[in-house]
Amino acid sequence: MCQMEKELQAELVSPETVGPGTSEDVPECAQAGSATDTMRLQIASCSRNEQFARVVVAVFASRLDPTVTEIDDLKTAVSEAVTNAVIHGYGGEEGTIYIEASICGRELTVTVRDEGVGIPDIPKAMEPMFTTDRTGERSGMGFAFMEAFMDQVEVRSEVGHGTAVTMKKRMGG
């Protein structure tokens, strides 16, 4: 059974809070006059956390002053990635999903990572309508949705070690 509260961790890291020289793992942002803000979230791999994950990323992105449509798009894409991690990455078993979001200029980058089974053939997995699900209830459109609702989607995966999906979207005009 999923224990949401127990396994939930979130932190907000910005250059101001960590101070100069200590931000070794905060993503760099070359944008002039723009500090990188980073949010990290760890959730237990269970379906009830999908909504929480997409809402947290949406709240973090709100500092870009996005349109309602941009926020909806982001929530949909994050939901797809987290659902994939729950269903396919961990196959419904226990696990932790790591979400990191950062802002550089007007661009949001969000990475959803699992330490699950991994994807043997990424191009195949990303084909619209392709699914390994046998219940017949999954549309196979998860990656297609991420690509439709975000500007850029990148998938890294290693069989037996896990999958990381990184998505970028320019928001707020």
Partner: protein, 113 residues
Amino acid sequence: MGEVSFLYEAKGQVLVIHLPKEFDHHNSRDLRYETDLLLSENYVRRMVFDFSRTVFMDSTGIGILLNRYKQMQRSGGTAAIYGANAQIRRVLAVGGVAKLMPQYASKEAALMG
């Protein structure tokens, strides 16, 4: 977060499915089983999906809608949608459901077809 239950409403040969606020993987786990049961026990000619309370849907919803659509098609029935907001309409379009299932503004219109 606890809101999972669907509400089903049978009106003659029409089955109305009132979808949850967040129509995602978590909140739709029982929908397949429940609708299969309803379809086996009732003569349903038309399936109507009520999105009027729904604020979010992802591709999980698309998978479910497409399957129910195919089910209805096989038995010579029809399927329709009403009450979809802008986010839902966008997802329906991207997911290819918009061109398969007619959308209506009101329940009455959707029931009539």
